[in-house]
Amino acid sequence: MQADVIVVGGGHAGCEAAYAAARLGAKVAMFTLRRDRIAHMSCNPAIGGVAKGHVVREIDALGGLMARAIDATGIQFRRLNASRGPAVRSSRAQADSSRYRQFVREEIESCTNITIVEDEVLALLVENGRLVGVRGASVGSVFAGAVILTTGTFLSGKCFVGDETFEGGRVGDAAAKGLSTSLREIGLTLGRFKTGTTPRLDTASIHWDALEPQSGDIPRPCFSFDPVRNDLPQIQCFLTYTNEKTDAIVRENLDRSPLYRGIIEGTGPRYCPSLEDKVVRFADRKRHQIFLEPEGLDTERVYPNGISTSLPKDVQDRFLHSIVGLEDVRILEYGYAVEYDYAPPTQLLPSLMTKVLPGLFLAGQINGTSGYEEAAGQGLMAGLNAVRWMAGDSPAILGRHEAYIGVLIDDLVTKGVDEPYRLFTSRAEYRLILRESNAEERLWRHAMAWGLLPEDRIARASMRDTARVELKDRLSMQRADPAMLARLGLTGRMVPGSTLESLLRRPEITLGHLFDGIDDEIALVVEESVKYAGYIEREAREIVRMSELDNYRLPDALDYLAMNGLSNEVRSKLLAVQPITLGQASRIPGVTPTSLALLRVLAHRVVSRETSEGIPELKECST
């Protein structure tokens, strides 16, 4: 069997990788252990949230799947942080998880150049130091120019429930065991991370009447910039709390928790602590909240958000029964912890290609991240870059000022991870420029240039862009007459002849006051850019200041060890990351301004010797 690109894994990263590569015309073989688990939500049945919603919008602007899938199959949509500032406004939606899987699978299946291969990949095929494909357990050798690994928690996955330990990437699914060996053989270092999930509850056994409901927002926020049809009924989630009795039960049984018995060696994420962790680390809290989230319209499964655990089954039963509304609850699937191999991501180039083996790309949890959205964003970029690499094109890299996906990947390859990585808005230094509202404005030209958008989408994106520009022009050209000021109650506070833009800067004025019939999305993005112009300009100035460094390409073969004057610590850090640009070097923790100045002189010396002129060569970095 022969393909252009092999994608190993059918999760959120794998699907976006396969879809993007296929969009660019590559013949894709997508390996998955089970076709019916494609785009499965292994943990909570929700997409989006603060910073994550931003990524979903970016994926949509880049022609990906995730936004359309959740728009079509969401059963509760919420707007978060609506009044807390433009950068942190985010959308979040509960999914009907089985319809979500179905939507994505059908999209993948409808791509004629994607072949789904239901098989386990045992090893990479490397000939004379060159990657040529993979070996499947039953299909045998499959050849391709590039391979993208999106193995999630399956790489040597091991699950823990109390005293029980079993191999698996997820409850009910086998682990991928052979591949780790293969990765070590090509020279990748692997580490071990841990994550966990909650028990799943039977909806019929929950006393819903006793609980506090939480509804979605009307109008529903959408993730895709294109309208997507969704006629599904919208549901409520419900809120309950642990109590002191719950705490006591957990505490009494800590010695039976694999986490506290030291059986689990992997590092877990601090922002996603298990109930055991919460009880120990936050002993002073009287209660912890639990959102009960139905996993879909037709399923009996309910996801209790807030109580991930790997305690033994009998303890899970007992502590759940101590909670209001869950006194008689039946557990359909017990909570568990899962430990898996990841490859520390400083071993990657910003294209997500490994430094040790050209043609091998990694995306998603294998890079030490967590979250469907983070995985999907990486998958898309890996799919895109795999095809570009085969065609000999320069890598497609999103800057930190262009996308959260850019922040994510730059953080991974520059700083590495010491716990499963997730995005926060505070990780983005230019977060006022990276808003959920303006993802398409930021990215559609890139997407078009990279070939990720179909013709009809380009037409719509371009139309929306024109509408934004026209609206901005109107605001800066049109002036308020006395009648308008009177109507807005601004007589005496603004001078007649002020631009509408300056009126809009006032906190009490919205675009709706000035014009009728403007599309909501376009109104929002323009209004934010006017109201917060001062802050946005500050970020823009900082971007210009940094761009000189980000455009300064370091020579490929810098001998960091021979650089006298740099401290050993800085030398070893530069050696490990091998930054592509001076800007990337500046973001490596521990690289001081002085060592950066020195690095620049030394790099200049190398370049001067190469070009035997005295003038430094400033190359544009591809973006």
Binding site: G85, F424, R605
Partner: protein
Amino acid sequence: MRSNIESFADTIVSVVTARGAAPVAVLRLSGSLAQTIVREMTGMGFEAEMPTHKMLRRAILNGEGRVLDDALVVLMRAPNSFTGEDVVEFHIHGSEPVVHQVLERSCALGARQAGPGEFSLRAVLNGRMNVAQAEAIADLISAGSTSQALSAAANVRGALSKRIGDLLARLESVLIDWRAALDFPDYPTGDGATEAHWQVLSDVADVLSALLAAGRPALSGAFRVALCGAPNVGKSTLLNRLAGSERVLVDAIPGTTRDPVEITLEIAGTLFSVWDTAGIRDDAEALESRGIEMSLARALESDVAFWIIDPQEPIWPDGIWKQAPLAVVMGKADLADLECAERLKKCAYERGLSWAGVISGLNGDGIDELMTSSMDQLRICDDTPHLRRRHFGLIKHAHVHVLQVLASESLPLDMMARDLEEALHALGSILGRDVEMSIFEGIFSEFCIGK
């Protein structure tokens, strides 16, 4: 993550002549803003073409149009200059207040204090020097970084670092609450700004403005010397000797000096700023003990703190005083013999203190030697004023942004958090601390967040 580096693209400024009192000082500006800055500073206007490589006589004006100095100004237009960029040099009078004000003015107009070797670095990068010269510059920078590290450590030791650290912690506690609320709205992370937060912010703003007020004299570029020790050991007598006049009230009753008194003097071409401080006693009454607190602060901020002891009744520093850059001086040499001095010197070494010498305030013996020998030691960290100015700028930046938060009650929480982050990053870079890391740590240790 924020990159904490200084750009190569902005305009830099520095005094390029040796420091200390000299008839003329030369200030060099290099970068794209150099011409704009010189036009602003001299009121030259933009109509006339400024001649290159020609010396002009111009008045230098401050922000209000008042004349700061009568100067010679020369523009060397790119690329025909030392750095290959537009370079402007001001030849101004060498008095420290003038130099300081002209420097401050060019910074206010967009220039940044140059780092060690930075003009040469630019010359290299712009192809104005060859590769062999570049190697020399690389050595210079790495050497610069050691001495810079030394003086940075010296500078942020003790009082300043403690105070900045304390302000950082207070601002961080607010930002942790706000960022937790912003990034985790679904968890019990609070609703943002509370009364307690406003209180912290306004307290911090007060401390920052006090620091700025106190920092101004420190920018004069003089070496700062504090005279301290137990009461009545002869600190004020020494100061008077130095000043050559009865500037300080000298009295035989212990505890006369309640407020630190400062004089500025020049010895062998170097400026010294000398503080007399209140004598240190345990039984001091309230007013005096406040004076002692100020003495301590002065000692901690000085370049050297002479701890003066009475040979007949030696009292040694302990506790927090040991964090000051102490050097022991035996006073009242007229009352003791050489043997006594040797014995005390040994005692000082045993206590881990350095020894600076023997003086007599009464007849003036040993005073000039004391000042010049300490000056030689202080020359090691010659770029302290550079760092001080940098700190001053950062504190000012932090202050502006804290005030902006306080003034922005009607703005959304995230915008306030942005300004607060600016302030934190400015203070954090004084101490070289990674603020983002501690914010993340703080959020996850204070809030129980997670599915």
